[in-house]
Symmetry: C2
Subunit: 234 residues, 2 copies
């Protein structure tokens, strides 16, 4: 399947590499596909162009383009931009390119402008997931994966215990497809909970402050939660 | 030890009963200790006076009073009011009665005025935990237990797996006391994570929307999360 990824962040590159390794065609995207990304203390991230060349050198099907190119390329589209710029980035797509497509939103509206820890640019009564769905009513938005680091997104088994992944969205078939194929078959998530319509994206995004505190307390970003319910078998 | 509980809610009554059953003296409190509480679909909750009489009939040391009475009574004070009224309720205490005392805050600022699901009356850049600490600088506020239902607070073992409890606060000794005695020895919490200073109360309170979605998705309030970190032994 051809997958278009809006963004060229570490999340986009990590998800893209995993999906390309499975034989899918992947296009990641940027306003400047030729620009190397400075990630500060975390080093330098290859440009989208360089990422695609690296993937192709391994025999994979990969490309880099603008945001609108990725939206047009994908049979499924993934938003992997920072939540604070997601509306603008996805908004550059030709609306016809999103019509009827599943738009997987893995973003978080982290706002670092006030220092650390970041606050959320949107929360409580709204979410990036809802804003994307409202801005693109023809797309079938599914919020998922935003509650884990990208290394965990593509390899949940490394945690050593089964943990939970979540989906939220208005389209049951879209959520079922994401749960069964993207999450289970392709990425290895064995426990996926449907939290309801796209307004549940608020809950998933508002979990991020706790994730950030857990990161600080444990010193590891390779973490997640296992939901434990009395009487529910593991 | 004598424990004063600000509030007479189901949380106050459940926590109070557990602590009284362990031999502690407990005073719960209300503006109207004689008033029966209508919990809507969940039935009727005994008045604070009736609760205390019921406890005493079992040979326990229990009393009911006003909020300020409970603050004066407790060697440790627990805020178990709804977060939206916690500042007002704790604010009726004589400040000298809180000076140097541990004030355990288990509240959540759930605002049901806009319908379901509730929003948070405070979040993102502030929290009830922080507001309580700011309003009562002599108290040693520890945020904890707000991430679980009161039935789980007092009996985490019923989940069948070890799950995580959290503490946040500015006073390391207060957090250590709460972790070792209130949480571990008295309530049975074996995994307690220190998330940092009282500003981490934001993260704990912002988790509530996810808890509410999990409640809706699973149909059970007897739930919690187990934090799984790569390389950390269970």
């Amino acid at each position: 399947m051809d997958i278009g990824i809006i963004g060229s962040s570490i999340v986009a590159q990590t998800l893209g590499a995993r999906l390309a390794s499975l034989g899918h065609g992947v296009m990641i995207s940027s306003r400047r596909p030729d620009a190397v990304k400075d990630m500060g203390q975390r080093g330098v991230l290859p440009s989208a162009d360089q990422w695609a060349a690296d993937q192709r050198s391994q025999g994979r099907t990969a490309a880099a383009g603008g945001f609108a190119d990725a939206a047009g390329y994908g049979e499924v589209v993934i938003n992997a931009t920072a939540g604070t710029v997601s509306l603008a980035a996805v908004g550059t797509a030709d609306e016809r390119d999103l019509e009827g497509k599943i738009l997987v939103d893995v973003s978080n509206p982290l706002d670092f402008s006030g220092g650390l820890p970041p606050t959320l640019a949107v929360c409580n009564t709204d979410s990036i997931g809802e804003r994307l769905q409202a801005a693109h009513p023809g797309a079938r938005v599914v919020k998922t994966l935003n509650t884990v680091n990208c290394g965990v997104m593509v390899d949940p088994r490394q945690l050593g215990e089964e943990t939970d992944q979540f989906v939220a969205g208005d389209d049951p078939k879209a959520k079922a497809w994401v749960s069964e194929h993207l999450l289970r078959d392709w990425l290895g998530w064995t426990r996926v909970r449907d939290l309801g319509d796209i307004s549940a994206a608020r809950a998933l995004e508002m979990y991020l402050p706790l994730w950030l505190r857990l990161l600080a307390a444990t010193g590891s970003s390779i973490l997640n939660v296992r939901v434990v319910v009395a009487g529910e078998t593991g």
